[in-house]
């Protein structure tokens, strides 16, 4: 029966050949465990996407109920502790893995031509990951979130000339409130996921096309 399904798909989409090419893709001999950090980062991203969607089932982005909805997830929902802790820990691990991946590429000189554009998308992906962390930090709306966001937005307010406009744009008003929370939530669950998905696709397509860089 299982083979029947595969045959059905194979007749229509030639999946056997596609899978064979995918899994038999040759990898150069010099590749070692240091080359895993990019993949681990992507795994972190997948975990974040899955647990993030699940958290959105119960999380409520308002000043009044953000904190209590997080407590509700932690105390009342079965496996809520697991899902939220996975999301919080994986967020930290993802940033560490991004840094390791970047250092590996940097010290191997893998950013050199013809791979400049892959380095460029990688740097943008790095900043997107950081922004994910910053916007997600506010959402539980505890003391740490509040003051971190206050500091963060005031730093943006210190930019010469445009600072006050950037700050007002981020806060959605004059101080941290419902508007800030819905903004950060929208950035965290709509804007950044779409952006990161598109850039990840580019990042992967480029490395697939150009192959892994030769050793120094």
């Amino acid at each position: 029966m299982k083979l029947g399904v595969v045959d059905f798909l194979d007749e229509r989409f030639d999946v056997r050949r596609a899978t064979r090419e995918f899994v038999n893709h040759p990898v150069p001999d010099h590749v070692n465990w240091l080359y895993c950090f990019g993949g681990i980062t992507f795994l972190c991203f997948l975990i974040q996407a899955l647990t993030g969607v699940l958290l959105a089932f119960y999380y409520q982005p308002t000043m009044e109920s953000a904190y209590t909805s997080v407590l509700h997830i932690m105390d009342d929902i079965p496996f809520g502790v697991l899902i939220r802790s996975l999301h919080a820990w994986t967020a930290n691990i993802m940033i560490i893995m991004v840094v390791f991946h970047m250092l590996r590429v940097f010290f191997h000189g893998a950013y050199r031509p013809p791979r400049e554009l892959n380095w460029l998308t990688g740097v943008i992906l790095f900043f997107i990951t950081i922004t994910f962390g910053f916007s997600g930090y506010l959402l539980p709306m505890n003391q740490l979130s509040y003051w971190a966001t206050k500091v963060g937005t005031e730093i943006s307010g210190a930019i010469p000339f445009v600072g006050q406009y950037v700050q007002a744009f981020l806060l959605g008003g004059e101080k941290i409130g419902d508007a800030t929370l819905t903004r950060f939530y929208t950035i965290h669950v709509v804007i950044l996921p779409i952006t990161i998905s598109a850039l990840l696709a580019l990042h992967f397509l480029m490395v697939r096309k150009q192959g892994i860089a030769d050793p120094l």
Partner: protein, 159 residues
């Protein structure tokens, strides 16, 4: 068997006739089955998480005792694994509370002589209405909804 091992990779794979269980098919099925079991192990908590917590389960109705059995000592019972106590108030009505101290979670004790609940850990006190009257507890004992039907006394959920 020995032949198989010595020229591994050189003997052609066993012929797969329809329906026959070859080694390859057997291993494929075992691997696919193990993968399916493993993946469902991951999926189960996620589905349980997404499925709502229903009020009917949270506030299930539970029979505690009958009217004639309630003494000044009260009636000790567990409601959804929470140690709890049913007492008769001065005005003859019934009240039931969770015995988990609102300070640090010790189990408080009903003192019939003083008609209050006493916490052995930090000497917190709650009166017969469950109100915190002395010591460190920050809030009253959680109170249950009590229903008397004929001779039977029920509790259902936090009031």
């Amino acid at each position: 068997m020995i032949d198989d091992r010595t020229d591994m990779g050189q003997t052609p794979p066993e012929k797969e006739s329809a329906g026959a269980i070859t080694r390859r098919r057997f291993l494929t099925a075992v691997f696919a089955g193990a993968t399916a079991v493993g993946l469902s192990g991951f999926a189960a908590p996620l589905i349980r998480y997404a499925y709502p917590v229903l009020k009917g389960q949270v506030y299930a109705k539970q029979k505690v005792t009958t009217v004639s059995q309630v003494t000044v000592e009260g009636v000790r019972f567990d409601y959804q694994e929470t140690p709890s106590m049913l007492i008769q108030l001065e005005d003859k009505s019934f009240a039931a509370y969770s015995l988990v101290c609102t300070h640090l979670g010790c189990i408080v004790k009903w003192e019939p002589k003083n008609r209050d609940f006493h916490c052995p850990c930090h000497a917190g006190k709650f009166d017969e209405n469950g109100i915190n009257i002395a010591g460190p507890p920050p809030s009253p004992l959680p109170k249950y909804k009590v229903a008397v039907e004929g001779q039977d006394i029920f509790v259902e959920g936090i009031a």
